[in-house]
């Protein structure tokens, strides 16, 4: 118990220092607008990646529609703050709940599907959401919404990111989370130990959608400006890439993945012509040289290296 308290306080202190340092950098103007924008985007991406990892990495349900839930959150938050002049806390809560409700409604029929079918169904869902947004004039249609009030500051984004990570981490380290992981591992055995697999898949999907809604709301009320094409297929793929890169089934992995890919695309912003090519090559290289089990692989390659050394030595001796 004492050990647990130690790590709790250590984490709290690290987070408090991180928060304070960045807050100081922002308020003293040492961190410029460009860097700040990318930092906020990074945090939003962490929320998206961690919440998608719950669905795809931990529960094993391959979803390609995460940007759709983000879009719901973003548009609802934008409409509530811009058009209805409602307070932002109400808007963010409503966004999250609305995304979660859509998650339930979509989850009930689609989560009976497996693998590729589920991926196609969720992809379809996010396209439907995007096209609906494209065709409603009240929310700006194709040109989108502009002049959304900026309510999101560092305390907001920091608090939401930390809350997302902690809540999803806690969920996974509970009986509910174990049931989700069991479904990923073997759904027939999971049912045989009394797990209602449809219910748990929907639960994971809904929690994932809830936090994607929060990410959308933060996005809308930070970037002033929304358009439907920001939430297309490519955005869902982006989030998925962060999750796979960081490691399916690893929360810290998702954080690292989101941070690395956000920073990478920031670093490549100045090379617009070759940016996508470099991005693709780097991704390929990373996937080739850093497959899932990092530590296990390092050991094996170290052994291989040593073995190869020995072999060389013997051949030399034979000569």
């Amino acid at each position: 118990m004492g050990k647990m308290h130690n790590s709790f306080w250590r984490n709290t202190i690290i987070l408090a220092v991180l928060f304070t340092v960045i807050q100081l950098l922002i308020s003293t103007g040492l961190m410029d607008q460009h860097l700040q924008l990318n930092l906020f985007l990074l945090c939003i991406n962490i929320i998206l990646a961690v919440s998608l990892n719950l669905i795809t990495g931990f529960t094993g349900q391959f979803s390609l529609g995460h940007a759709g839930f983000m879009a719901i959150g973003a548009y609802i938050s934008a409409v509530m703050t811009l058009k209805l002049n409602l307070p932002f806390p109400l808007a963010i809560v409503t966004s999250a709940i609305a995304a979660a409700i859509v998650g339930i409604l979509v989850g009930i029929p689609t989560l009976r599907l497996r693998g590729d079918y589920l991926a196609i169904a969720t992809l379809g869902l996010s396209e439907i959401i995007r096209i609906i947004a494209l065709n409603i004039d009240y929310i700006g249609g194709a040109s989108g919404l502009a002049d959304i009030p900026r309510y999101v500051n560092w305390p907001w984004i920091f608090a939401m990111t930390v809350a997302t990570v902690i809540i999803i981490y806690n969920f996974i380290h509970s009986s509910y989370g174990r049931a989700c992981i069991a479904i990923r591992e073997d759904d027939i055995a999971a049912e045989a130990v009394g797990i209602n697999i449809t219910r748990y898949k929907i639960l994971a999907f809904t929690i994932g959608a809830f936090f994607a809604g929060i990410a959308g709301s933060l996005y809308a009320n930070y970037f002033y400006f929304l358009k439907p094409n920001a939430f297309g297929f490519m955005k869902s793929i982006d989030i998925l890439v962060m999750v796979v890169f960081g490691g399916l089934g690893s929360i810290t992995g998702s954080i690292v993945g989101a941070a690395a890919l956000t920073l990478l695309s920031m670093a490549l912003q100045d090379l617009p012509t070759i940016r996508m090519i470099l991005y693709a090559i780097l991704l390929l290289a990373i996937m080739l040289y850093r497959p899932q089990g990092l530590l296990g692989n390092a050991e094996i390659s170290w052994k291989l290296l040593k073995k190869r050394g020995d072999k060389d030595a013997t051949t030399i001796n034979r000569k």
């Binding site: 509970s174 009986s175 073997d186 027939i188 055995a189 130990v193």
Partner: protein, 257 residues
């Protein structure tokens, strides 16, 4: 005393194949019952019918617990919660999860904290998890796996994987335990230990056990009664001695002269 489980005239067809045809079975509380038959006789199909993986094509299947339940209308997870646990012929553990987590997963129907407790790791969560942990370790101790509790399940040797499946099934606190070839792949010494373990578990947990097994030393050693299936039909039932000398059973296993 009324039986715990009755299968009345139960059938299962896959297209034109009668995997199980008009089978009648009764299992009484506290019994260890064997289910034998040549390969493809329908033994595992019968298990899948009892556990709700398949829906019967005909007949009735009832569990007589505190309430009488029609198993044909229940889904697998409901049947598990009613107190029917099973192991699988080709082991189905949660491979990447630890040995301990495999057992903890099965305790989830007995968890006494809710979703909000899980989100915020409240004191109710801490109490609930501590209790689950205690129970799971106790169960692993009984099955001799406690010292391996932190290993991934896939790293266990074969015999221990089979025992872990039994531990996981016991975590459901079942009334009826279905064992699908528990001795498969075990050496004679492991099999002898398994025979002792199964009888001991029956007494310790007040279980009723139905087991499929090809190893006759297991079947003849611990079963009070045996059912014999061949081509989906029940060809014999009786005590081990009656079955050993039954001409129909000998014919099914060895063929005719």
């Amino acid at each position: 005393m009324p039986p715990l489980l009755t299968a009345n005239d139960i059938s299962k067809n896959f297209g034109g194949l009668n995997a199980i045809a008009n089978v009648n079975i009764e299992i009484h509380s506290g019994e260890i019952v064997g289910l034998i038959g040549p390969n493809g006789a329908g033994k595992t199909t019968l298990f899948n019918l009892i556990t709700g993986v398949y829906v019967p094509s005909g007949g009735t299947l009832r569990l007589h617990g505190e309430v009488d339940v029609d198993l044909a209308k229940a889904s697998p997870h409901e049947i598990a919660a009613l107190g029917i646990a099973r192991t699988f012929q080709n082991i189905r553990l949660f491979k990447e999860m630890s040995v301990l987590d495999n057992v903890l997963v099965a305790y989830h129907i007995h968890v006494n904290y809710n979703l909000l407790d899980a989100f915020f790791h409240t004191p109710a969560y801490a109490r609930g998890e501590a209790e689950l942990y205690k129970n799971a370790v106790e169960l692993l101790n009984i099955l001799g796996l406690a010292d391996k509790k932190d290993l991934p399940a896939k790293n266990l040797p074969y015999g221990e994987q089979r025992r872990l499946e039994i531990a996981r099934a016991l975590a459901l606190k079942p009334k009826l335990l279905l064992l699908d070839e528990p001795a498969a792949g075990m050496n004679p010494q492991e099999t002898a230990e398994l025979i002792k373990l199964i009888s001991w578990l029956r007494d310790k947990f007040g279980l009723t056990i139905l087991l499929i097994e090809h190893d006759m030393s297991v079947v003849m050693g611990i079963c009070q009664r045996i059912y014999v299936l061949d081509y989906g039909r029940l060809i014999a039932e009786g005590t081990p001695n009656e079955i050993k000398n039954n001409p129909l059973v000998i014919k099914a296993y060895l063929g005719e002269e």
